[in-house]
Amino acid sequence: MKRIYYILILALPLLVLSGCSKFEEDLFGKSSSERVDALIKEAYDTLTSSPEGWYFNYHVGWDELEEIGGYWFWCKFNTDYTVDAALELNTVYYYGNETTHNHPAGDIVSSPFEFIKSRGAVLSFDIYNPILDFFVVPSANAYQGLQGDLEFSISEVTPSRITVKGIKTGKIMHFYKKTDGKETGQAMRDLSEIGNRIDRTSTMIATVAGAYSGEGYEPVAERAIKNYNSHMRASRAITLTYNVLTGMNGETPVTETKEVRMLYTPDMDGKGITLYNKVNVMGNDITAFTYDANTDAFTSNDPGQTVVLKQTDAYAIEDVLGRYTAYVSSYWEGTLDPLENITITRQSGNKLKVQGIDMDILFFYATFDPNLGILVAEDYHEIEGITLGGVKVYFKNPYGGAPTVFYITRPDNVTNISCGDLWGYYAPDYVSPSGNVGAWGGLYGSLRLIHN
């Protein structure tokens, strides 16, 4: 019996102490709930205390091919839980063919913001804002939008920089306190101009010191052309491909191909780009490039300046105008005989008309982008499309889908204009194979124009 009493006496303090969370908190520091509260309070106090607001370097993409680099938002957080936001890009929204929102770079739109406690310290933009939602808004052709975040978990707060992590993308992003005294709209428009200059071309001439550059093995640098909600741009993801000589097989070089993907954000002063992740080229670590506007070239910041990327010259419109032969095929109608006497003429500025002698066969308007080297077929109301088997075909989904893009190449100095992924929809009086009247669907075909 005595033993039992001894055990009970010993057990008593444990029973008292283990049952009480207050004791645990005193013993082990603050509870996680308190830590979250403290972090939210710190974030709120810091974010709302910047009279000029914050620059927000925003990255998107949880799938590799959707990672298109970093873009500059400006956000001002107010004590009434509203945020004023602007972006360096133009944001245009459509409902069908109606434009419901049109905000040039630098326009400011306000909306509420929240902190969500239940999932750690999360900053949430959970009420519509056409600026903040730009990279999120989905469409029929981009069911996940541009894979952007609206919720961010807060990782670190300092007086001039707040680090967050996108909930869906996992991207580490920063808010930088704005103290430059610039008027916000002008600051964003300036960034827009810098971006337009720095993101101008889809291809770049690349030199990589130490890489093998024999004919056919030259380094190649490209930026994907991406649809930013019906506005085509070169993305801020550079893919650099180069070859390393590993030996000779008689007179034939033996090489190993390397590919490096670089996501960047233009620096605010327009003098360079900073990479999201460090990359290694020919054994050299690169974290940024300087940009020289005079040479229109980027030079890597490693001591040896291993990589130089120069933006290519724009295409000349004279190389695009003229007479062509068209090769058309589609899933539904098969391959048509080549269509001769297709002409491309200039309507005004960079607006071109592509027209067959027989207008019923081939007729559409497109905007020429000399820097990206593309033709963008005009929107629904502007074009007639082409006729396949007697059926009018249009190039753009009338419910706000992506415009059809034709790529220009000039092998042996002959202009080729092609779209290998021809996507259109059938006219309202068409009856599709599955019996839907006026249904739209993919052409799953190609159109290739070759200059005569």
Binding site: Y5, L12, C20, E34, F125, D126, Q144
Partner: protein, 300 residues
């Protein structure tokens, strides 16, 4: 000695319980997402939460949206419009139509509405207009178009009631599920098209094929429950002449089956719920015609 120890133990336990009940209150000066208090929040609390225990979640709660869906939030103007319409074209309809009055909604209404600004899209480009989970929660997509319509001349009621995309077709459809899950309809209904249900393959069939087989929509071919609620929600959101036109292209056999189903539907509502199907329809259509006289702005 034994008793002394018992008393010590008892005191210790009581002391423990008492001291632990004094939990540290979280020292939060931050207004959390959970503590909304705008005029619109007060309106929602008074008109939905208090009388019906319904939560109208107009902010985008990502937990509530499927992880693969990328959508944008509803804007405040569209959210207000939808909240007013939820009352006008859903709750108040049944308050009027049911002999139980407001108690009917208290007992049976959908409990959570999640508002979403854009459509949700599948990878193949088809749009998801709304989702419902077990009659407890309905997610309504594409709501930002309501604010746009309102600003540019008014909302066409047909948009709200349409079979393909109308929010109120969806809401009355889901409410139909709540009704039959509470009090089931007769087995006779499921026998009419017993060999023509195709489950998830319904999307491979056209509307005309569905009509010819006695279904009111292709989705009705899924199973008898969907058939039942599609009949209900389509009928109550169309005028008689619209209905007649809609089914006019059905084959004779299809029309006969639709008529049979309609009779059973009417009987069910009258017998199980004391409601008249045509009265429900008349109320919905009358109210739908009145929506542009509602105040969507000054909600407090």
């Amino acid at each position: 000695m034994k008793n002394l120890f018992k008393y010590i133990l008892l005191i210790a336990l009581v002391t423990t319980a008492w001291s632990c009940s004094e939990e540290l209150k979280s020292n939060s000066v931050i207004k959390a997402a959970e503590e909304r208090n705008s005029d619109f929040d007060k309106y929602l609390y008074r008109e939905f939460t208090v009388p019906y225990n319904i939560r109208v979640q107009y902010w985008l709660d990502d937990k509530e949206i499927g992880n693969n869906d990328q959508v944008i939030p509803a804007d405040i103007e569209s959210s207000k419009i939808m909240a007013v319409l939820l009352k006008y074209l859903f709750l108040d309809v049944y308050n009027e139509a049911s002999p139980e009055g407001v108690d009917f909604d208290r007992k049976y209404a959908v409990r959570i509405f999640q508002f979403v600004g854009s459509r949700a899209y599948n990878p193949n480009g088809t749009a998801v207009l709304g989702t419902a989970e077990g009659g407890l929660k309905i997610t309504l997509n594409d709501l930002n178009r309501l604010g746009y319509f309102y600003k540019t001349g008014g909302i066409d009621p047909a948009v709200l009631l349409s079979v393909e995309a109308g929010e109120f077709h969806t809401i009355h459809h889901e409410f139909g599920h709540i009704l039959h899950q509470t009090k089931n309809y007769s087995d006779e209904y499921g026998q009419i098209s017993v060999s023509d249900y195709v489950l998830d393959s319904w999307s491979e069939y056209t509307l005309q094929e569905a009509l010819d087989l006695g279904f009111i929509t292709a989705y009705g071919r899924n199973n008898k429950d969907e058939d039942f609620v599609e009949m209900y929600s389509t009928y109550v959101t169309m005028s008689q002449s619209q209905w007649d036109t809609y089914i006019s292209s059905a084959s004779a056999a299809g029309k006969a089956k639709i008529a049979q189903k309609l009779t059973l539907l009417k009987d069910y509502l009258a017998t199980s719920w004391g409601m008249d199907l045509n009265n429900i329809r008349a109320i919905i259509l009358r109210r739908a015609s009145e929506i542009n006289s509602l105040d969507f702005v000054n909600l407090k």
